[in-house]
């Protein structure tokens, strides 16, 4: 469904991605793990065309999206809940969800909003509140909900567990599994929380210094000595 091949990305003169190949099939949850600064978020943003890949190609549903403007890439059926959540703080929760539906037809708006509010009931209580006043966990739920409002074929999630209490993290990972199982949503998940991310995923990639080091099923990577040593032992298993 999404096929990233040989992608190089630069921030000015700094090279963030050095020839990345990633393949994501329909219906999968694929996790990308790696340390801070490995280039995980850059990869997700490069898929959305900001920054743009300097070399290599990105194909989605057989279509080359490497040089498409960001908003057109989104119209093709990709949604992202980005690093730092980036909800619209001076809009209400409801308006944020409406914004998420920008690319989808107004006919199924009511149906979609019911689905999202069912996944995250707390957002219903907060519907008319300004999004900037939500707690971190609620903002994360809103960011994911907003991404779901566009009925994406592929959902990109950037560190949905960052800075959240373990209870909330658990809840969010459960929702990710549910939308994958029940709605057959394809999910590409970027995480530092390697244990959770790999347990949830069908397949995983390990990234460091802008390159893919390793790939395999979630179970294989969880069992791998090097992965355990680098990303799991000493903290990650919370």
């Amino acid at each position: 469904m999404l096929s990233i091949s040989g992608v190089h990305t630069f921030y000015g003169s700094i090279q963030a991605l050095r020839g990345v190949d990633v393949e994501i099939n329909e219906g999968e949850i694929v996790s990308l793990i790696g340390a801070n600064g490995a280039g995980k978020s850059t990869l997700l943003m490069t898929v959305c065309g900001n920054p743009r890949a300097a070399k290599g190609s990105i194909k989605f549903d057989g279509r080359d999206i490497t040089n498409m403007p960001t908003h057109e890439i989104i119209h093709n059926g990709i949604a992202q809940s980005p690093e730092g959540r980036r909800i619209f703080p001076r809009m209400t929760v409801m308006e944020n969800l409406q914004m998420g539906a920008t690319t989808s037809s107004p006919e199924h708006f009511d149906e979609d909003i019911d689905k999202v509010l069912e996944l995250f009931p707390i957002l219903k209580e907060r519907a008319s509140q300004r999004a900037g006043t939500l707690s971190g966990g609620e903002q994360q739920m809103l960011a994911i909900g907003r991404a779901l409002m566009s009925r994406p074929k592929l959902l990109l999630l950037d560190e949905p567990s960052l800075g959240l209490a373990p209870m909330i993290v658990k809840q969010i990972f459960e929702v990710i599994r549910d939308i994958n199982r029940l709605q057959n949503m394809t999910v590409f998940l970027v995480e530092q929380n390697a244990f959770h991310a790999l347990r949830l995923a069908h397949r995983g990639y390990v990234m460091a210094n802008g390159q893919i080091l390793m790939t395999g099923t979630g179970q294989e990577l969880l069992a791998d000595e090097k992965v355990r040593a680098a990303y799991l032992e000493g903290g990650g298993t919370a």
Partner: protein
């Protein structure tokens, strides 16, 4: 008392015009974070196009005022909107992503360019327009002083109020308005949910320019004379109004415009007409020192 009421009427009328121009500043600032210093020139071009349109209509024998006024408003808004759109395309869009100073300098350059362009095309002399809308209502009389509210003043106030309500509704309630507010809060994220950011910015310039066009038509009718330099002072005052109200805030621009109009009218009426501009810009200085976010501007409240 009568004199006070008269100044109040004059001030409100003037304030409406400043408010219309100020909305253009505040909307553009909101969405791309720059002061469009060529906006005053867009208003000046609006005033010129309105004179030219009245002239053409006169040749074609359209003299029934309501009809003529409608046509002039529509034609002026269309042409001026086109100028606003081209301005953004040529002078600002290529500089998107450049350091903040670059588009600011580009804006000042466009302002000088447009002034000289109109001066070359239309000449430096004043262009008069004979009064089109005459007559007034006498509201009260006191000690030989008659308070007059002219039909033109009523028109200006009513039309401005209608436009302001319409624009507030667009920004507050429609999908276009939500897209504009999304671009204002986080342009990168707006693109990430599928909003065409460039097009939204273009539409914002078109909306701002159309309102400046209406202000141009009103001023032409009100003062009956325009020249290539009127955009400078009116632009600065409308900018002051936008800052006073809180730049980026739509109701703030309206309130700021109204206050600037009132300050100017009362200062002229009670102190000295020569110093009215000093009074207005003195306010700008005071606001910037004591309340940089303006009256209705809010400091950012964001939870990370």
């Amino acid at each position: 008392m009568a004199y006070f009421v008269q100044q109040l009427i004059n001030g409100v009328t003037l304030g409406m015009i400043y408010g219309l121009i100020a909305i253009g500043y505040t909307m553009v600032y909101g969405i791309i974070g720059m002061i469009n210093f060529a906006h005053g020139e867009i208003y000046m071009i609006g005033a010129f196009i309105s004179i030219i349109s009245f002239l053409f209509l006169g040749w074609f024998g359209v003299t029934w005022i309501p009809l003529a006024l409608m046509i002039v408003l529509i034609v002026t808004m269309m042409f001026t909107a086109f100028y606003g759109w081209s301005l953004e395309r040529t002078a600002y869009r290529p500089l998107r992503g450049a350091p903040r100073l670059a588009p600011l300098i580009s804006a000042i350059g466009m302002s000088i360019f447009l002034q000289n362009y109109v001066q070359l095309l239309q000449g430096a002399r004043n262009k008069p327009l004979p009064p089109k809308i005459t007559g007034s209502i006498e509201i009260m009389e006191q000690a030989g002083f008659t308070v007059q509210l002219s039909y033109l003043q009523i028109l200006i106030i009513v039309l401005t109020l209608i436009l302001m309500v319409a624009f507030s509704t667009i920004i507050g309630k429609t999908a276009l308005g939500r897209a504009q507010r999304a671009c204002e809060q986080d342009r990168g994220m707006a693109a990430l949910i599928g909003i065409n950011v460039d097009r939204t910015i273009s539409i914002t310039f078109i909306m701002g320019a159309s309102l400046a066009a209406v202000a141009g038509v009103m001023v032409t009718l009100y003062w009956g004379v325009v020249d290539f330099f009127i955009g400078f002072l009116a632009g600065l005052k409308a900018f002051t109004a936008a800052v006073l109200g809180g730049i980026g805030s739509l109701p703030g621009a309206m309130l700021g415009g109204l206050l600037i109009g009132l300050i100017e009218a009362f200062w002229s009426g009670y102190f000295s007409i020569e110093y009215k501009d000093v009074a207005v810009f003195g306010i700008l200085v005071l606001v910037l020192i004591f309340r940089p976010t303006g009256l209705l501007g809010q400091p950012e409240i964001e939870k990370v």
